[in-house]
Symmetry: C2
Subunit: 227 residues, 2 copies
């Protein structure tokens, strides 16, 4: 399947590597591919420069945002939260029309110090902002409640016995994404929370996630809904 | 032990009944005991009038807020979120000085329709507001991530195999509350998140909790931190 990933950070790379290893035709979209490849320093989160990662993952093509949008049969938003709406608009509303976009980002605001706060919450969410910016795209919020390695390989933790959430306005799109998460990424408990406004719930979980990380000292944890 | 519970709703009643059944000397504080007892209608959440509950729980005395504060060796905040800070101030900063106050409330705002939003979040929390209002009290945020029956009897669900959180500035107070939750209420996994600002995390989990309730159709669920 033709996969278009938006964002060159750790989440985008992890998704790209996994999807390519499963045989999908994967591109990563970025604003300026030449600039991204020219960077020689890692990012603020300790990831190595993109070019270094790309040398080991040459099957994944780095392209512009509009090229990634046109390539995608299934889209994955792994941009930084604060850049996501504008960057996805630049990718092209028309090119993404009718397609599913899995939104794995969180509206983290690091400008007020650590731990981060959220730049949108409570009565709105980043998932809803993206859905409003791309009204003909089927946005499915998913995977934003866990660290990147667990997103693509849920069985790394407790044999996958933790929960994953999907939020979105299109029931078929959610079913498609939920099946993909189960079959490709090993998620055992995918919970459909409801329409895209339920993304407020999973995004607002992030402040608890961040504090739990402080306690566990590793991001390799998640939550299970016990019922 | 002398227990002072603030709030006559379902959480206050559930705590009172359980603590009294364990042999503690329990009072419930309310603004105007006569008015509370005179009410003949249930509340908006389907609870019966207080007098009806009280007839079955006569060991629990209904008193004024200041009387409950003076009585308490251990305090429990089960007020409605929006009334909590002012009502606890009226109970008396001096009477609560040096004491532990377990804060089980959430800053739910029902004025903007359902599901509720939070009237404080992100860069502040109700737990912090209460700690600032009662600077000499040891506020420990706890139990606010689950329904009242699970607060006092964690083993009602999955033999207690779900997680409970404590947040507070006083390490001894948190240890005391954590032990109490384990020994009296059957909680098996009590996680100390850190100082009182970590209450932002558990309070901001509520929008996810509310949406999960919509999915499970019962409030008898909780989350386990899998690590």
């Amino acid at each position: 399947m033709k996969m278009g990933i938006f964002g060159t950070g750790i989440v985008g790379r992890t998704l790209a590597q996994k999807l390519a290893s499963l045989g999908h035709d994967v591109v990563i979209g970025t604003r300026d591919p030449k600039a991204t490849l020219a960077r020689t320093e890692g990012d603020a989160y300790g990831s190595p420069p993109f070019a270094k990662w790309h040398a080991d993952n040459a099957k994944v093509k780095l392209v512009t945002m509009p090229e990634a949008a046109r390539h995608a049969e299934l889209g994955w938003n792994a941009l930084l939260g604060q850049a996501a709406v504008e960057a996805l608009r630049s990718a092209g509303e028309d090119a993404l029309a009718g397609k599913i976009l899995v939104d794995a980002t969180n509206p983290l605001d690091f400008s007020k110090g650590m731990p981060p706060s959220l730049f949108v919450s409570n009565t709105d969410s980043l998932g809803e902002q993206i859905q409003r910016a791309l009204p003909r795209t089927k946005v499915v919020k998913a995977l934003n409640t866990m660290a990147a390695p667990l997103m693509v390989d849920a069985k790394l933790l407790a044999d996958g016995q933790h929960s994953t959430f999907v939020s979105g306005d299109d029931a078929d799109a959610k079913r498609t994404v939920a099946s993909f998460l189960r079959e490709a990424f090993g998620h055992t408990d995918v919970i459909d929370l409801g329409d895209i406004s339920t993304a407020r719930g999973t995004e607002m979980y992030l402040p608890l996630w961040v504090r739990l990380w402080g306690v566990t000292k590793t991001p390799m944890f998640s939550i299970r809904v016990v019922r």
